[in-house]
C-alpha cells in the first residue's frame, strides 16, 4: 500500500503545487500508516520532494512526454499507482491535473473527488471535504472504492516541510499509440506573467475601471505584488480583457491568499468564484457595492486616486522589507 502523488513540473522544475500535493500526501499517508511515492514526468530535482515528505520518486524520463498529453500522462500515473499498489492518488487542481484525473480514476476504477480543501475527516469510511456550488458551500464526500483519487484545491493546504529524504528510481511506463490520439500543435502562454491558478495574489478589475485603456493601473498594482491579473464577467463580455481572465461562476475560480478587487461591484456569481480566497480587499467608490459584505478590507474611494497611492505605498513597503 502507498499514497501516490503526481508532482507537476514545468520546464524541468517542480511547480509550487507539486510541493503542496506532496505535503498533503504525506499527512494522508500518516493517517493510513504508509509511505508516499511521487511520480514525476521529466521533472525537477527529486531531492526537493523529500523535503515535503515524499519517500520515493518514480522518475519518468521520456522524450515523447516532453509536452503535456493528458491521456499518456494519465497512463503513466495509472501504471505507477498499480506498481506501488496505491490506495490513494493525489493530484493538484491545475488545468492539466483536472484534465488527467478523471482518466486516471476510470482506469483504476477509483472514486474521484475534486476541489478537496482539507485532510480526510476519516480514513474508514474515507471522507473528504470539498467545495461545491462554486464555493457557495462545502460537501463531505465519502469515497467507497478501494482506490481513491483526490484533486486538492490549490493553496488549500499549504506547504509543510519535512526532514525526510526521497529515494529516486527510474520508471518506464509502457505507452501505446492510442495514448497519443491528441497532438498539440501550438501553445500560447505568457511566460512573463503569473497565471491565476498558480498565483498567491490576484488583482482583479471591474467595470469601475471605465475602459481597457485604464488596465495599466491593474497591471502595475499586480506587478508590484507579483500577482496575476483577473477581471469581472462584464469586462470580459465587453472584450476589454480576454476570457481567460474572467473570474466567477462561469469563469475561473480563484483560491489565492490575497484577492484585490478594483471597481468590481461583487455580483453573486463573482463572489462565488473568489470565495476560496483567504483575504479579500475591495476598492470601490460605491459604499453599497455588495463586495463590501464579502471583503475583509475595503476602501470606499475612487480607484483612479486610491490605486496609484496604494502602488506607491506598496513600493515603499517592498523597498523597506526587501
Amino acid at each position: 500500500m502507498s499514497v501516490l502523488v503526481y508532482t507537476e513540473s514545468e520546464g524541468g522544475k517542480f511547480k509550487k503545487a507539486a510541493f503542496e500535493v506532496a505535503s498533503y500526501a504525506k499527512e494522508v499517508a500518516g493517517m493510513l500508516g504508509t509511505t508516499v511515492t511521487a511520480v514525476s514526468v521529466n521533472g525537477g530535482d527529486s531531492s526537493e520532494l523529500g523535503a515535503y515528505g515524499v519517500d520515493k520518486v518514480l522518475e519518468v524520463k521520456e522524450d515523447k512526454l516532453t509536452g503535456f498529453n493528458a491521456k499518456a500522462y494519465a497512463s503513466a500515473i495509472r501504471q505507477a499507482a498499480e506498481k506501488e499498489n496505491a490506495s490513494v492518488v493525489v493530484v493538484s487542481s491545475s488545468a492539466d491535473s483536472k484534465f488527467l484525473a478523471p482518466l486516471v480514476a476510470v482506469h483504476l476504477n477509483a472514486g474521484y473527488a475534486s476541489n478537496v480543501v482539507s485532510l480526510p475527516e476519516s480514513a474508514a469510511p474515507f471522507k473528504v471535504k470539498r467545495t461545491a456550488f462554486t464555493n457557495k458551500a462545502f460537501n463531505i464526500t465519502e469515497i467507497s472504492t478501494d482506490v481513491k483519487v483526490i484533486g486538492l484545491s490549490n493553496n488549500a493546504f499549504g506547504l509543510k516541510e519535512n526532514s525526510g529524504a526521497a529515494t529516486a528510481e527510474g520508471f518506464e511506463p509502457s505507452l501505446s499509440d492510442a495514448d497519443f490520439g491528441v497532438t498539440v500543435t501550438a501553445v500560447d502562454k505568457a511566460t512573463d506573467k503569473v497565471s491565476i491558478a498558480d498565483a498567491e495574489i490576484v488583482v482583479s478589475g471591474g467595470r469601475g475601471l471605465k475602459g481597457p485603456e485604464n488596465w495599466g493601473l491593474i497591471e502595475e498594482l499586480a506587478g508590484v505584488l507579483g500577482a496575476a491579473t483577473a477581471c469581472s464577467k462584464p469586462v470580459s463580455d465587453m472584450g476589454w480583457r480576454p476570457h481567460s481572465e474572467h473570474v466567477g461562476q462561469t469563469g475561473k475560480p480563484v483560491a489565492s491568499n490575497l484577492y484585490i478587487a478594483v471597481g468590481v461591484s461583487g455580483a453573486i456569481q463573482h463572489l462565488a468564484g473568489i470565495n476560496s480566497s483567504k483575504v479579500k480587499v475591495v476598492i470601490n467608490n460605491d459604499p453599497e457595492a455588495p463586495f463590501f459584505k464579502a471583503a475583509d478590507y475595503g476602501i470606499v474611494g475612487d480607484a483612479f486616486e486610491v490605486v496609484p497611492k496604494l502602488i506607491e505605498k506598496l513600493k515603499e513597503f517592498k523597498a523597506n522589507n526587501a
Binding site: A95, A137, V187, L314
Partner: protein
C-alpha cells in the same frame, strides 16, 4: 456528423444555496433550474455545426422527470432529440457510465459536455466518458473546428491556451469560449412550440454503483464585518495586509 450534448440541470447562477434534511440534501425550494452554463456554450456550438456543416444534435440528461423542462429548453434552442436516463445523478462516475451506454447505443462522433456543472463542480464526467468509450478527449475547450473526421481544438491552460488536432470520435469538456456569451440563444415561440413535438426518450439506467456519495453539506462560516480603510490613508491597508492578515 452525429453530435450528443450532455445537459446538466442546475440551479440558476443567482440562486441562494440552502440545504435540508439535516444538511444532506440541496434545498430546491424556490430555485430556478437552468441548462448548466458550461453545457449551454457547447449546445450553442453544436447548433452552429448543425446549421453550417450539417449535423444532427441530440441532448441527454441523467436525472429524474423534474429535469425534462431543461431538456425541452435545449430542444427549443434547436436540438433534434432528447434522451433522459431515468435515474438520480448521484456521482460523476455513475453519470459517466450511464452516458457511455447512450454514446455506444447512439454511435455519436462528437460528444460535448460542460467542463463541470456549476452545482457539484465535479469536473469529471467528460473525461470519464472519454475514458469509458475510448474516444479522444480535450478538456476546458474554448474553440472547436471539425473538418471531416479531424478536429482542431483549443483548450485553456493555466496562463494561456493550447491548440491540438485529433480525430473523431471525440469528447470535449466545454466552457465559455466555444461560443461567446452573446451567441447564446433564447428560445423563440416557434422553437418552444416545435420542442413540444420533438422526441424525448426516457431510457432506464444501466446497473452500476455510485463510487462517491455527498454525505453532508456545509455552508461557509459567516464572515465578519469588513474593515474599512480611509482613502486618504492607504498606507494603513498595506500595514494591515502585512501585520494582521500576513499575506504580503
Amino acid at each position: 456528423m452525429k453530435i450528443l450534448v450532455c445537459i446538466s440541470h442546475v440551479p440558476d447562477t443567482t440562486s441562494k444555496i440552502n440545504f435540508t434534511d439535516g444538511d444532506t440534501k440541496f434545498d430546491t425550494n424556490g430555485v430556478q433550474f437552468v441548462i448548466n452554463p458550461n453545457d449551454e456554450f457547447g449546445l450553442t456550438r453544436a447548433m452552429w455545426f448543425k446549421e453550417k456543416q450539417g449535423a444532427s444534435v441530440d441532448v441527454v440528461n441523467v436525472g429524474g422527470s423534474e429535469t425534462e423542462p431543461t431538456l425541452r429548453k435545449a430542444l427549443a434552442i434547436g436540438a433534434d432529440n432528447a434522451i433522459r436516463v431515468n435515474t438520480e445523478a448521484t456521482d460523476g462516475f455513475y453519470v459517466a457510465k450511464q452516458l457511455a451506454k447512450v454514446v455506444e447505443d447512439g454511435g455519436y462522433d462528437l460528444v460535448i459536455a460542460g467542463r463541470e456543472s456549476i452545482d457539484y463542480n465535479g469536473g469529471m464526467v467528460p473525461g470519464m466518458l472519454a475514458a469509458l468509450t475510448g474516444a479522444n478527449f480535450v478538456n476546458t475547450c474554448i474553440g472547436l473546428e471539425i473538418d471531416g473526421d479531424t478536429a482542431t481544438a483549443t483548450r485553456e491552460i493555466d496562463g494561456g491556451k493550447e491548440t491540438s488536432t485529433t480525430k473523431l470520435p471525440l469528447v470535449v469538456g466545454g466552457q465559455k469560449g466555444l461560443v461567446e456569451e452573446s451567441d447564446l440563444r433564447i428560445p423563440n415561440m416557434r422553437g418552444i412550440m416545435m420542442a413540444r413535438k420533438k422526441p424525448l426518450n426516457v431510457v432506464e439506467p444501466v446497473d452500476s454503483n455510485a463510487e462517491t456519495k455527498a454525505v453532508q453539506f456545509q455552508k461557509p462560516a459567516p464572515k465578519g464585518d469588513v474593515t474599512l480603510v480611509d482613502p486618504e490613508n492607504v498606507g494603513q491597508l498595506v500595514e494591515l495586509l502585512h501585520n494582521e492578515a500576513k499575506v504580503i
